[in-house]
C-alpha cells in the first residue's frame, strides 16, 4: 500500500529541520519512479546495443557474401576465357545468351557472351544467397603467330632496303630477295639469321568474321529506315536525361549530333551522319551510321561503324572503328590503350577503289589497323593507291595489316607490319620497299587483338 504524504512546504522547511532519510524511507513511491527511470534507460541501452551489434554482424556477413558473389562473377569470366580459348571443344566464336552454372550448394554463375564488333562482350553474374555481383568485360586475344615477325612483305617485289638511320628489331619475312642497307649491292652481313624467304598469304587470317560483321552492320542501317520505332529528322542529344535515350536501340532516320552527354551501354543507329562532339562520353556503346565524324569527346570500349568515311578529328578514344570507306585520323585525336581501325576497300566504279586508313603526322597511336580490299583480280585497269598511310613523325604501337601497300617514312613502329609492300615518296622521288628513317622495335606491352586468327590463343580482358 502506498501512503501518500504531502511534501513539506518551503515555509515548513524554513521553520523545521528536514530529515531526508526519514522522507525517503516513508515515501516508497519515489523508489518506484526511480526504478522506472532506470528501467527506461536500461531499455534504451538494451535496444541501442542490440541494434548496433546486429547491424555490425549483418554488415560483416553481407560483406563476405558479396565477396563470395564477386569471386563467382570472376569465375564466370574465367569460364568464358576457357571456352574462347578452345576449352571443351569451343573456339573464338563461342557465344551464349545465357549459361547458368551451379557451384555445389554454394552459389550460381550466370554468363552471357555476345560478339561486340570483333571482340566479345561478357556479362557474368555471381549469386551467393541474397547477394549478387555483376561484371561486364570486353575480351580480345593475343597477336596470332602468323603475324609475329617484325615485317612481312607478301608481294613478289624483291627485297627490302633499309635507308640510313633505319633500325629493325625482329624477323623480316620476304617472298624473295634480301635485306640491304642503302645502295649497297650485298645483303646486310648476318641478315640470313633474321630474314626468312617464304610465300605468305595476302592476309594472315580469315577475314570472313570481319566481312560478316561489316555486312551485318550495313544491313542493320539499311533495314532501320523501315523501322517503326525510328525517329525521322535531325536529332541532337545534349543531356543524359534526354528522353531519346530511353529507347535502346535508338534509331534515327536522318542525322544525329551528340553533345555533352554520357552514354553507357547504348546502341545508336543513324541512317545519315552521326557527329560526336565535345563533352560526349561513350562507354561500351555501339554506333552504326551512314557516316561518322568524331569531332571530340571520349570513347571507351565502344564501337563505331560507318558505311561512308569515318573521320576522327579529336578526342580520346579506346574503341573499335569500322568503315566501308576510309578512316581518317587527324593529329588532335589521341588513342591511349588499345583501339582497332578496320577499313574495307570497295570498288566504287570501273576505275576506282575507295577506302584506306590515314593516320595523320606526328600522332601517337596504339592498337591494330586492318585494311583489306575487295578482290580485283583480273581488273588491271584499276589503280590502287596505298591502303594505309602513317604520317611522318608518328609513333605506332601495335600491328598494321593490309593486303595492299603501306605508305610510311620517318616513323616509329613498335609491333608488326604485314603488307604487300612499303611505299614512300621523298624529295619527289618514289621508293618501293625502302624504309626511310624508320625505327622498329618489339611491342613492349601486349595490346589485345580481335578474336580472329587461328588457335591457340590467349584470350584476355581489355582494360
Amino acid at each position: 500500500m502506498v501512503v501518500k504524504v504531502k511534501p513539506p512546504s518551503i515555509s515548513h522547511i524554513k521553520h523545521q529541520t528536514f530529515n531526508i532519510t526519514q522522507y525517503l524511507t516513508y515515501n516508497s513511491g519515489y523508489t518506484l519512479y526511480l526504478v522506472m527511470v532506470i528501467l527506461f534507460i536500461a531499455g534504451i541501452l538494451f535496444t541501442v546495443s542490440l541494434r548496433a551489434s546486429s547491424v555490425a554482424h549483418i554488415q560483416s556477413v553481407r560483406h563476405i557474401h558479396s565477396l563470395q558473389a564477386k569471386f563467382l562473377a570472376q569465375s564466370g569470366i574465367a569460364r568464358a576465357e576457357y571456352f574462347l580459348n578452345g576449352g571443351d571443344g569451343h573456339d573464338l566464336n563461342w557465344e551464349t545468351d545465357r549459361l547458368e552454372e551451379t557451384i555445389d550448394n554454394f552459389g550460381t554463375i550466370v554468363i552471357s557472351c555476345v560478339p561486340f564488333g570483333l571482340l566479345s562482350k561478357i556479362n557474368s553474374t555471381g549469386n551467393r544467397l541474397n547477394e549478387s555481383y555483376t561484371l561486364e568485360e570486353i575480351m580480345g586475344r593475343d597477336i596470332p603467330r602468323t603475324i609475329e615477325s617484325a615485317i612481312t612483305l607478301t608481294g613478289h617485289v624483291g627485297g627490302l632496303v633499309l635507308a640510313k638511320g633505319t633500325t629493325i628489331q625482329g624477323t623480316v619475312v620476304l617472298h624473295h630477295g634480301t635485306v640491304k642497307r642503302g645502295n649497297n649491292k650485298s645483303p646486310i652481313p648476318g641478315s640470313e639469321k633474321w630474314v626468312k624467304q617464304m610465300e605468305s598469304p595476302p592476309l594472315p587470317f580469315d577475314i570472313r568474321k570481319i566481312t560478316d560483321f561489316m555486312n551485318e552492320s550495313a544491313n542493320t542501317i539499311a533495314l532501320s529506315i523501315s523501322s517503326k520505332t525510328a525517329l525521322n529528322g535531325h536529332c541532337t542529344i545534349t543531356g543524359s536525361n534526354d528522353s531519346l535515350l530511353t529507347s535502346n536501340p535508338l534509331i534515327i532516320n536522318g542525322d544525329c549530333s551528340i553533345g555533352a552527354v554520357e552514354l553507357d551501354n547504348v546502341s545508336v543507329i543513324v541512317t545519315g551522319e552521326l557527329k560526336i562532339n565535345k563533352g560526349a562520353l561513350c562507354r561500351k556503346s555501339s554506333f552504326l551510321a551512314g557516316k561518322i565524324t568524331i569531332v571530340n569527346g571520349i570513347s571507351k570500349k565502344s564501337l563505331f561503324f560507318s558505311n561512308d568515311v569515318l573521320t576522327i578529328k579529336g578526342g580520346v578514344h579506346k574503341a573499335q572503328f569500322f568503315s566501308n570507306d576510309s578512316i581518317v585520323i587527324e593529329k588532335e585525336a589521341q588513342f591511349p590503350g588499345s583501339s582497332l581501325w578496320i577499313s574495307h576497300r570497295i570498288q566504287d566504279n570501273d576505275t576506282t577503289i575507295t577506302g584506306g586508313i590515314v593516320f595523320s603526322e606526328k600522332g601517337n597511336y596504339s592498337g591494330h589497323a586492318v585494311c583489306f580490299t575487295d578482290s580485283i583480280e583480273g581488273k588491271s585497269e584499276i589503280l590502287v593507291g596505298p591502303s594505309v598511310a602513317l604520317g611522318e613523325g608518328s609513333v605506332f604501337n601495335g600491328t598494321i595489316i593490309t593486303d595492299g601497300d603501306i605508305n610510311l617514312k620517318r616513323v616509329t613502329v613498335n609491333g608488326h607490319i604485314y603488307c604487300r609492300s612499303v611505299v614512300a615518296v621523298d624529295n619527289k622521288m618514289s621508293y618501293k620497299n625502302w624504309l626511310l628513317g624508320c625505327s622498329h622495335a618489339e611491342l613492349e606491352k601486349e595490346i589485345p587483338f580481335p578474336l580472329i586468327g587461328d588457335l591457340p590463343a590467349k584470350v584476355s580482358l581489355i582494360e
Partner: protein, 104 residues
C-alpha cells in the same frame, strides 16, 4: 516489496550487461568474418597472380590468433579452387572460384 524493487534494480543493471556481452560475442564473430574475408581475398589474389604457387594448407597469425587456410583444387586447365579460413578450430568462411591457367 523491497526484494522486488531490489530485483528490478539488479535486473536493470544486469540486462544491459548481458546484452553487451552477447553483442561483443556477435561483434567478435563479425570481426572474425571480416578477417576471414580479407585473408581469403588476399590468398585468392595471390593464387590468381601466381598460379604455380599452389598451397594446400597455410598458417597465418593475425592479432595473436592463428588462422589455417586450406585450399582444394579440382580440374586441370580450368581449376575449381575452394579456399577456406579457420580460426580457433572453427571454419569461419570459404570462397569458391575458377582459376584459368592460360595455354602457352
Amino acid at each position: 516489496m523491497e526484494v522486488l524493487v531490489a530485483m528490478i534494480i539488479f535486473l536493470a543493471f544486469i540486462l544491459p550487461l548481458i546484452v553487451q556481452m552477447s553483442a561483443s560475442v556477435k561483434i567478435n564473430r563479425g570481426k572474425d568474418k571480416m578477417v576471414a574475408a580479407c585473408i581469403l581475398e588476399q590468398e585468392a589474389a595471390r593464387l590468381k597472380m601466381f598460379p604455380d604457387d599452389v598451397f594446400y594448407t597455410k598458417r597465418r597469425t593475425i592479432n595473436g590468433i592463428e588462422w589455417i587456410i586450406k585450399a582444394a583444387f579440382q580440374g586441370n586447365e580450368l581449376k575449381k579452387c575452394t579456399l577456406s579460413a579457420s580460426a580457433k578450430g572453427k571454419k569461419v568462411d570459404q570462397v569458391i572460384f575458377y582459376l584459368y591457367e592460360k595455354k602457352n
